[in-house]
Amino acid sequence: MGYTLLTLWGLTLITFVLTRVVPGDPARIAAGPQARQEQVEQVRRMYGLDKPLWVQYGIYMANLLRGDFGKSLWSKRPVIDDLKAYFLPTMELGLTAGLMFFCLGVPLGILSAVYRNSPLDHLSRLFALAGVSLPVFIFGLVLQLVFYKILGWFPAGGRIDPFIPPPRHLTGFYLLDSLITGNWRALVSSLHHIFLPAVTLAYGSLAVVSRMTRASLLEVLGQDYIRTARAKGLAERVVLLKHALRNAMVPILTITGLQIGSLLGGVLLVEIIFSWPGLGTYAYTAVTVLDVNAIMAITLVTGILYTGVNLLVDLLYTVVDPRIRYR
């Protein structure tokens, strides 16, 4: 925990320094291309960019501890408002894809381990190979072409049909909010919209997780205690799910954590292809206009998410393998 906090503090320091040393004058860009010098200075004062760097960092950290990310130089709104608007959709898409690849990848891996070297196993291997080697943007465009243009089954982009009012804001996740408020039209439309981008995002990771499950499970299945379990006359299902899978779970969890990290990278591309209103485009604009406060906030939140997932995976180890204990 302490280590995680230290990592995050280091992250704030590095991004702070980086955003300040890159070429370009944020105040000048924020004031507008034709602004006079006095207007630029006004903006500089307004955002405290005229103070010495260490004072700026002090103010930034003090505000951050109160949950204040400052104001965006570009939109002039508090960064937290924009972050809420763009971060939650990214989370929703990422989590849906994560759930999808884990819940499908593990069973698929189990099946190919059990029916090793059968046509099913070969098919799953082919499926995985395609998943790993297909770039997400090509896969996404192909899905759009087939399921939107030709078949017309799924929408080509967006988070919800623009003719349907979004559900009341509770968690910011459309799927959850519409489920909680019983807004079925919104739920159906959100599911409908999230399906293709989530599949696009999940496919590569699904392949990796299913192969990992297969390999890890095969290794465990060759162990002596599995033979003992079978010799005891336990049902094969119990042997597989209770004795083998649980022991095979540690590497699977590790790879899942890593895959969620790589999802964060892939999600930005998928967002652009499917016009998903997430952090990707927001981050891109923030960087191009040197919106220092927004860049810092995006980096920090992504960092928190990444370290959070890793922490969660570490904690899950202890659940699946009681021999692992943290002090």
Binding site: R28, I29, A31, G32, S75, K76
Partner: protein
Amino acid sequence: MRCGRKEVEAGRKPYPHKNVTKEGGMMRKFLLYSLLPMFLGLLVLGQGVPRERTLVIATGLQPSTLDIGVGYEAAAINVNLVVYERLVRYKPGSVEVEPELAKSWSVSPDGKVWTFELHSGIVFHDGTPCDAAAVAFSFQRAMAINLGPAWMLEPIERVEAVDDLTVRFTLKRPYPEFLQVLANIFGTGIVSPAAVKAHATEDDPWAQEWLSSHMVGTGPYKFVEWVKGQHIILRRFEDYWRGWDGVKNNIEQVIIRYITEPSVQRLLLERGDVDIAMDISVDDWELLKGTPGIVLVEEPSMHATYLRFNCAAGPTADVRVRKAIRAALDYKGMIEYVLRGHAVQMQGAAAIGLPCHNNELPLPVQDLDLARKLLAEAGYPHGGFTLEYVYESGHEDRRRVGELLQASLAELGIALKIIELPWPDLWERVSAADPERTPAIVANGWWPDYADVINFLYPMYHSSQWPPVAFNIGFYKNEEVDKLLDRAQVETDPAVRCELLKKAQALIYEDCPDIDLYHLTTRIALRDWVKGYVYSPIYTEGFFLYDMWLEK
């Protein structure tokens, strides 16, 4: 598991009025198996909301702020044009100014006092009246915020309401292009003072935070919601002061969808899920030609692309070298191959089609013999030097123009080093006051804010605008040009002023501080059921929705 749950349910008897029996279980199974396909069916058929009276526009550009006093980016043009109104506006399809909120105006002989008469009965979307005081308030607000578009309002000394329907501007100096400035889309829209006051706070007296994501104007459409990254919804304003009787408009709702990927815009347009697509790629444009049901509109814009020379340091400080490079570029190849016909070659430094544009200037053509001759005169008969060519990332056209120029210059013995820089870095390089740091050639673009050539000439060619002040990034200076522009800034006789500006354009062409390249075209694809669309060369991304209708 299933068994256990049944027992619990039976024990609790959650539905005492219903007999939970074996039949009930079968019923549940039946429901499950019949509902599941229905649910999946819904997933597939979830679309199909009636939309005959809705106009859906797809664009990749989302504004960063909706505040009319702050925003200064093309992405806000479409909403600004229909939610807010100005005193005067550009006539659809032209650069001529016509009345909007003001029905008439007059100017004092010295050009310093402008008086506008408003139409009566104008109301804001919040129901409050739009009178002279509201107009004065809007300008005071933009001037006090002093960001983005406020530079255009700098000559205003004060603005006041004389009576309910008369508003008077007193200027610091004559401002011949004042009407043009008032018609421009940024900073001059009239916002409801009541809305501003209702959302002002001590730290934020002009309600900038609230207005950055809300709009309250007088236009034919009112702002409903902005779901960031997804869409902005506008709805017809029933109390619009021009009224809705006798107009063909039947558009009750407008949805502006932010679709980041151009190829997806094309798919949506083809299936009729959007009515207008703003960002069709050049490849898709060719493929869409001849598609039934789709209308393609392509018009030259006022956007200008230049290669700006460093006139103060290095080999390009010599006008003969600059002219040699101008003679080396293959203009025909540039328009045909680099831009695939989606551009028009520029004539001089100001946009073709503007009043006072000098249309007697020659169009440069490739002439390598002339280039060699000029280089020899300048003391470089065999070239033998290297120049830096800098362009902004993302502008593929400018990179390819650089490559075209590189090939031509190689024949003259000049090496061209092409450098791509992100905008903040590029800006850092060209805004330094030291010419030694400025690259020899910078590819850059210019959007006019209003339809007057001085909006091109003054910021880019007057010597008071050298870096770090503004856009004369090549340190160009010609005292004669300075004088002509200074006079044009205060000359109130339009004919005399036009002469001054035309002369300045001729002198600038002769000094060759840059190569005037091309005006890109604006491409807009519409479904054929969208009627009444007229392209505006100034509000390029805008739609005069009041004059439009749908025939679905």
